[in-house]
Symmetry: C2
Subunit: 412 residues, 2 copies
């Protein structure tokens, strides 16, 4: 089993952000898998989406095998020895973005510029909280590029990401066209639609209006805006799944009663039939889908930072490379030099196939080299994280061809 080792790189130079603000000094947490080859031509950077991290593949070593197994990386089905992105051949880097709550500098870290007079009700060191500057996809890419510099990697064999991670991969090809050979952009979009922004905004309002949010400075109050985080996550989950998969998984099934969950239904059919009837409640769980969503919300509120949620959803909202070209994506992508693989999933209504096709068209308009696969998968947006042979085998083939390019180049 692949054992992952998180590392941290400190950056002492300030990072100028798109907003005009800057971060004075910062850390980026990352992991690497596989070995960088002699000419440093086999590096693949994986960018994460909303609630993921640098922990892309493998597990963290632990004496307790159960604990170890649970620490598996979020794209471990895709990346590792012998996997579609084969770490026996590629040097894969997972990096945590600025503003995250999983290691890299974010709202929960100490703000070196904090004025102790701003929050006079505390005498601890000031964390950023809501003062963490707004970061964009472009800012993340700039920070990632500086990390690549530290690792001595000038050119990446591939950038790869799904959803918001795909936006970063795309942005790399525009910000550092010379440094990217291939971009693998999965279940992504060239910007958010009004509906996408709307869902983000409702989630943010739920967090911001939670009385425990305290304008983002809840840390000093010793509370967490869990109500808001729960609602945000529930909304998110609805948009990650397709209507079809929700119906297949949950449909209109009622919550399992104690009788049913103990498997007593066959022993006591009357009790089982009772358990199958409505309990007529407006506040308690009645349907299984409710139980599932509440569980997801509860879990998320335990580990995710509210300010990070605001920052990352805003990075999504703001991403729009065509904006400075009056909305013309073809113009915006003209600068890209990479070759592209794009993948979308038919039931993904968050980042629907039509959004990927917009990118494919804009790339073709510029005579770029593009592979595009539209997978007829039932799982909605979540499909990009799941195993589907049609999907994983395309990624495997594509990385196989990248490997051939690298090998030929070394041989020639």
């Amino acid at each position: 089993m692949l054992i992952a080792h998180p590392q941290t790189q400190h950056f002492a130079e300030p990072l100028l952000l798109q907003s005009g603000k800057s971060i004075r000094a910062y850390d980026l947490t990352y992991e690497t898998y596989g070995t960088l080859n002699a000419d440093k031509s086999n590096a693949v950077l994986v960018c994460h989406a909303l609630n993921a991290s640098h922990h892309v593949a493998g597990v963290y070593e632990n004496a307790d095998p159960e604990v170890q197994e649970k620490s598996v990386g979020w794209w471990d089905n895709m990346i590792g020895p012998g996997k579609p992105v084969d770490t026996d051949h590629f040097f894969v880097i997972g990096v945590n973005n600025l503003g995250s709550c999983f290691g890299s500098t974010g709202p929960m870290h100490v703000n070196p510029d904090a004025n102790p007079n701003t929050h006079p009700d505390t005498n601890t060191q000031q964390v950023y909280g809501a003062d963490f500057p707004v970061v964009t996809v472009e800012d993340w890419v700039n920070a990632q590029a500086l990390l690549m510099d530290k690792l001595g990697i000038t050119t990446l064999a591939a950038l790869m990401g799904g959803s918001l991670g795909g936006m970063q991969a795309l942005s790399w090809t525009l910000q550092y066209p010379e440094r990217v050979r291939h971009a693998v952009v999965i279940a992504s979009a060239p910007n958010l639609t009004a509906e996408n922004i709307a869902f983000n905004e409702v989630a943010r309002r739920a967090i911001v209006t939670d009385p425990d949010f305290h304008a983002g400075n809840f840390y000093t109050h010793g509370v967490i805006p869990k109500r808001g985080l729960r609602i945000a996550r529930m909304i998110g989950h609805i948009t990650y799944l397709s209507d079809d998969v929700m119906n297949a998984k949950f449909g209109r099934q009622l919550k399992l009663s104690l009788v049913q969950s103990l498997g007593l239904s066959s022993a006591n059919p009357e009790a089982a039939s009772q358990a199958d009837s409505y309990s007529y409640t407006t506040q308690d769980v009645e349907f299984q889908i409710e139980s599932y969503l509440r569980h997801q919300g509860d879990k998320f509120a335990e580990y995710f930072d509210a300010n990070t949620y605001l920052l990352i959803t805003r990075a999504l909202d703001y991403f729009d490379p065509a904006r400075k070209f009056g909305g013309n994506l073809t113009q915006a992508l003209k600068i890209a030099k990479a070759k592209f693989l794009l993948v979308s999933f038919t039931t993904d209504w968050r980042f629907s196939p039509s959004r990927s096709r917009e990118m494919v068209k804009a790339l073709l308009d510029n005579n770029r080299d593009v592979c595009y696969a539209e997978i007829d998968a039932p799982h909605g947006h979540d499909a990009f994280l799941l195993d589907d042979r049609r999907y994983t085998s395309i990624v495997r083939s594509y990385f196989g061809s990248i490997l051939k390019e690298i090998t030929l180049k070394v041989a020639s």
Copy 2:
């Protein structure tokens, strides 16, 4: 202009509810438009959806013409003199459902069975609050039928409703098959999908977990769970609109700045260009869609009751006539005797055309007389409330044919 006059009918007999509970005594608020003919064969009952009421058509008389104009009924474009449902020929009744906050007995009314010891922190008369019993579509239909009895109407020329109103129209044909000649079921569904329930559940959680909800007894605390109501309404609005119409109306446009809203942009292009750039904020409004949703949420929280929201969304969740037939809708609709008009809208992803087609199929399986129109409208679920000639002209034709039936019957 049609002037509407709300009326109230008191019912002294208890109403037994589907849950097994009952409401001891209650009022139903309703309005009527047009004249009931001699043989009482021209009555049309209009059922309302989530946030509407008995005030279907016309305006309330007011000395101030502006105030009067603003009081227009929610389906006034469809119902009135010379309109598709022509009140020069039909006697139309709009009724407010039990549990609502617009007149009929609901959570804000005094609970005759309240035990003053339950809420010892108040010495006012106890309102129902969260103790208002769960009401279902079937319960509403039973109450509506009792109102028809009071009005001396044995058989309705037509039942009519959109969305949740359509569910009531359908349910009438199953609960009182002899009393319904036609059912007009628009933008509706035979039950909610898991995704529909999921959206309702998130909205309910936002309300219930608002600290101002006080387990539904917020009235006695002198507060309103406005945060939760706002979130609920924002979620609702997203599901009422289509992705397309949101993009057409709002797209990625930024909130109008003061400069732009004052129309100064052409006079001062530099200021206008400034106003067109991001302000990099996570908590303030940046995009127009955010501004729109916040405004909708704020308005709603001013007038809608939180307990009513829970009750009405639960009535939606629970509606499922096929449930007692093991999910077989054909079996469930066998009892219906009415003729049907069903209408759906292509971009309605809340109650998509496929849900209407399920009903059409089940009715055809039973050799029922069905007209079905699928309108290629861009407006999503909201389309059922909007003017679209293809839609309104079908309703007009259908009611024209109902009128012919009535006239022929009188003549023969």
